[in-house]
C-alpha cells in the first residue's frame, strides 16, 4: 500500500526530484540572433540563481536545461523532442522566436497527455494565444498584435497614415505584418508597401533592394518585424539611401543588439537613430524606481549570469542590462510563483490550475499579472522607446519626436 503513494519529497512527477525541478529551454545561442537567446537566458538565470541560493522552491532547486536551435525550426523541434521524451523536463520555458515556436506547438498537442506546457516564449505571435494550440502555452508578454496596433495608432495619430512594412519572410514576419494590416483597417488604410528579407540575414548583408521597394511606396513610416542584425542593416541602408521617415521595431528585435550594431565604430550614430522608435513589452530597465527593475539590476550585478559555455560557438559580449534580459527575469519571477503554488508535491497535472490561480499578482512593474481560461497572456502593456544619448529611453511625445 505504501508503494502506491509517493513518499513525501520523493519524485512525484517527471522533471521533479527531491532536490530539483527541471525546466527545458530551446533558444538561439548561435547565429545572427544569438543575442536574444543569450540575454533571455541570462535574465531568467539571475532570478533562478537568486531563488536557488535561498533554498529553491519549497526545497527544490530550479534547473534550466538548455539547447541551442540557432533560431531555426527544425533544430527547435528536435530539441523539444529531446527535452520532452529523453530529459523528461517538468515543462518548457523561455523558447525564442515565432518560426520555432509555431513548429513546436503541434508536438505539445501530440503529447498532450503528458501535460507539458510551454511557459513564456519570447514571441508575441498569435498561434500560441489562439486555438488550436493556445491551450498548450502560457504567455507573459504583450502580443505583436498589441505592439503593432500601438505603433500604428500612434503613427496615424500624428498624421503618418501611409505605413509600410519591412519583415522577415517567415511566420514571425507574417505575424507582425498581419498585426499592422489589422490595425490599419479601422482607419480605412492599407499597408502601402512591403519588403522582406530571409531569416538569418546578417548586418553585413545589403538591404538596398528592400529600401528601394519601400521608397517607391512613399511611406510616412516603416514598421520592421525582424531580428536585430537584419533590422540594423535595413536601418543603415534606409538612412544612407535617404528614406527619411520614422522606422519602428517591435520588441523581438533586441533593441540593445540593434543599437550596438548601428552605432558601433561610427561618429555619426545619431544620424541613424534619430528616427528610430522601438516598442517594448517591459518597462525601461533604467528606471530603478520600478521595484522589479531595481531587483533586476541588483541581481544581474550580484550573479552576473553567463550563457551556457557548451552552447557558445561564437563570440558574444553580454549587456549588463537589456530589455530582453529584463523580460527573461520577469518570466522567471512568474514561473517561480507558479511552481510555488503547486505546493510540496509538484505535478504537471496541477500546473494549469496553479497558473489560473494567479490573479492580480504584483510582479513589481506597476502592471498586475492575471491568468485565466480566457486569458493566457499575463501582461498587456506596450512601451515605446527612442534613442537618446546612446541608449533607449521612454518616448514622451510622438508629436514632438515624429510629428
Amino acid at each position: 500500500m505504501g508503494l502506491c503513494w509517493p513518499r513525501p519529497g520523493a519524485a512525484s512527477s517527471s522533471g521533479v526530484t527531491d532536490g530539483e525541478i527541471v525546466l527545458g529551454m530551446s533558444a538561439a545561442f548561435s547565429g545572427p540572433s544569438r543575442g536574444l537567446g543569450i540575454e533571455l537566458f541570462r535574465g531568467a538565470s539571475a532570478y533562478f540563481e537568486h531563488v536557488n541560493r535561498q533554498g529553491g522552491v519549497r526545497g527544490r532547486r530550479i534547473v534550466l536545461r538548455t539547447y541551442d536551435d540557432g533560431y531555426q525550426p527544425d533544430p527547435s523541434v528536435k530539441n523539444t523532442m529531446t527535452l520532452m521524451l529523453e530529459d523528461e523536463v517538468f515543462s518548457l520555458f523561455g523558447y525564442v522566436g515565432t518560426p520555432t515556436v509555431t513548429r513546436v506547438l503541434p508536438m505539445l498537442k501530440k503529447f498532450q497527455e503528458r501535460r507539458i506546457y510551454l511557459f513564456f516564449p519570447f514571441t508575441g505571435a498569435q498561434p500560441q494565444r489562439e486555438p488550436p494550440y493556445g491551450d498548450f502555452a502560457f504567455n507573459l508578454r504583450a502580443s505583436y498584435r498589441q505592439e503593432t496596433a500601438g505603433l500604428v495608432q500612434n503613427f496615424v495619430g500624428i498624421g503618418r497614415k501611409r505605413i509600410a512594412v519591412f519583415y522577415q519572410a517567415d511566420a514571425y514576419g507574417r505575424s507582425g505584418w498581419a498585426g499592422v494590416r489589422r490595425a490599419l483597417k479601422p482607419f480605412g488604410e492599407r499597408i502601402v508597401g512591403e519588403a522582406t528579407y530571409r531569416r538569418g540575414s546578417k548586418f553585413t548583408g545589403i538591404m538596398r533592394d528592400q529600401v528601394e521597394i519601400l521608397k517607391a511606396a512613399r511611406p510616412d513610416a516603416v514598421i520592421c518585424i525582424g531580428a536585430y542584425a537584419a533590422c540594423a542593416a535595413f536601418l543603415r541602408d534606409a538612412v544612407d539611401l535617404g528614406l527619411r521617415v520614422p522606422i519602428a521595431n517591435v520588441s523581438f528585435v533586441g533593441s540593445e543588439n540593434l543599437l550596438n550594431l548601428i552605432t558601433q565604430g561610427r561618429d555619426d550614430g545619431k544620424r541613424y537613430t534619430e528616427l528610430l522608435v522601438n516598442s517594448q513589452v517591459v518597462p525601461s530597465y533604467h528606471d530603478v524606481a520600478i521595484p522589479a527593475v531595481g531587483q533586476y539590476q541588483e541581481l544581474m550585478a550580484r550573479y552576473d549570469p553567463q550563457p551556457p559555455r557548451e552552447l557558445l560557438r561564437e563570440d558574444y559580449t553580454p549587456f549588463s542590462h537589456s530589455f530582453v534580459s529584463l523580460e527573461g527575469f520577469l518570466n522567471a519571477k512568474v514561473m517561480v510563483e507558479i511552481l510555488d503554488r503547486l505546493g510540496d508535491r509538484p505535478e504537471r497535472s496541477a500546473l494549469q490550475d496553479a497558473v489560473f490561480s494567479i490573479r492580480d499578482f504584483d510582479l513589481g512593474i506597476g502592471e498586475l499579472v492575471s491568468f485565466g481560461p480566457e486569458r493566457r497572456q499575463g501582461l498587456q502593456k506596450v512601451y515605446y522607446t527612442v534613442v537618446d544619448e546612446g541608449r533607449f529611453i521612454p518616448l514622451d511625445s510622438w508629436k514632438d519626436r515624429f510629428g
Binding site: T98, P99, T102, R103, A125, Q126, P127, E130, P131, A169, D170, A171, Y172, G173, R174, S175, W177, A178, E194, A195, T196, Y197, R198, M207, D209, Q210, I213
Partner: protein, 255 residues
C-alpha cells in the same frame, strides 16, 4: 609499287568500314540523345507540374480553417514548410479579393505577379527578372470563394536535370563508341590478315614462279576462301609455266 597499291586498297577498305561504324554510332548517339531529352524533359516537367498541383491543392485544403480563423501566421508557417521541397521556388496565397495574404518572396512580390490577376487559377509560364523561369500552377481555396494558392516551379531545375541526363547518356555512348571502334579495328585486322597472305603469295608467284608452294604450305592448306584463292593462284601460275613450256599440266598435289 604494286604491293604499295594493294596495301592502300586495304587501308581504304578499313577507312570505309571505320567510317561506317562511326556513322552508325553517330546516328545511334544522336537519336538516343534526342529521345532521351524528349523523354526526360517531358516526364520531369509533367512530374514537377503534377507535384506542384498536388502541393497547391494540399495547401488549399489545409488553408480553409486557417483562413477562416484569420490566422495568417499559421498560414505562412504552412507554406514555409512546402517551399523547402526541391523544385518549388515560391508560393503565394491570395484572398478572394486578390489581396496577397502570405508569400515566400524576397525582397518583395515581383511586379509581374503583383500586377497580374491573383484570382486566376490557370497554369502560366513566368519569366521573373532576377529569379528565373517558372511554371506557376494554382488551386482554388473553397472553390475559389476563399482565395487561391499559387505554386511556382523552377523550370531551370528541370533543364538542369535534362542536361545531367544527357551528359550521362553522352558519357555512356562515348565509352561504347571507343570500345566499338577498337573492336572494329581488331576484327577488320583479323579478317584482312589471310587476304594479306594471299596477296603476298600472289606477288611471290609473280616474281618467282619457281618458288611454287615453298613456305606457303599453311596458306595453301587453309580450308577457307583464302586457301582456295591461294591454290587458284598456284594453279594458274603452274598452268602458265606449262603453256610456256608446251607441256601437259600436272595435277594439283592438294587436289
Amino acid at each position: 609499287m604494286k604491293i604499295q597499291l594493294a596495301d592502300m586498297k586495304i587501308q581504304k577498305l578499313f577507312r570505309k568500314t571505320l567510317f561506317g561504324v562511326f556513322f552508325l554510332f553517330g546516328v545511334i548517339g544522336v537519336s538516343t540523345s534526342v529521345l532521351c531529352i524528349y523523354t526526360v524533359d517531358t516526364h520531369l516537367s509533367e512530374e514537377y507540374e503534377s507535384n506542384s498541383r498536388d502541393i497547391a491543392k494540399t495547401i488549399a485544403d489545409a488553408s480553409v480553417d486557417i483562413l477562416l480563423n484569420r490566422n495568417l501566421t499559421a498560414l505562412q508557417s504552412l507554406i514555409d514548410q512546402f517551399v523547402e521541397i526541391q523544385g518549388i521556388s515560391y508560393i503565394y496565397i491570395t484572398s478572394e479579393t486578390g489581396e496577397f495574404l502570405a508569400h515566400t518572396f524576397v525582397p518583395g512580390i515581383p511586379e509581374e505577379i503583383r500586377t497580374g490577376d491573383p484570382t486566376s487559377t490557370v497554369t502560366v509560364e513566368r519569366s521573373l527578372p532576377g529569379m528565373g523561369d517558372f511554371v506557376e500552377v494554382a488551386s482554388p481555396i473553397l472553390v475559389g470563394v476563399a482565395g487561391a494558392v499559387h505554386v511556382g516551379m523552377d523550370t531551370g531545375l528541370v533543364a538542369l536535370k535534362v542536361q545531367r541526363a544527357i551528359g550521362q547518356q553522352v558519357y555512356l555512348i562515348s565509352i561504347i563508341f571507343v570500345v566499338g571502334i577498337l573492336a572494329a579495328i581488331w576484327l577488320v585486322g583479323q579478317a584482312s590478315r589471310p587476304v594479306d597472305g594471299v596477296l603476298a603469295f600472289a606477288v611471290k608467284l609473280a616474281r618467282d614462279r619457281k618458288a611454287d608452294s615453298k613456305g606457303s604450305e599453311k596458306l595453301l592448306a587453309r580450308n577457307d576462301e583464302a586457301g582456295e584463292l591461294a591454290r587458284l593462284f598456284l594453279h594458274f601460275s603452274r598452268a602458265m609455266d606449262r603453256d610456256k613450256a608446251g607441256g601437259i599440266p600436272q595435277p594439283d598435289p592438294k587436289g
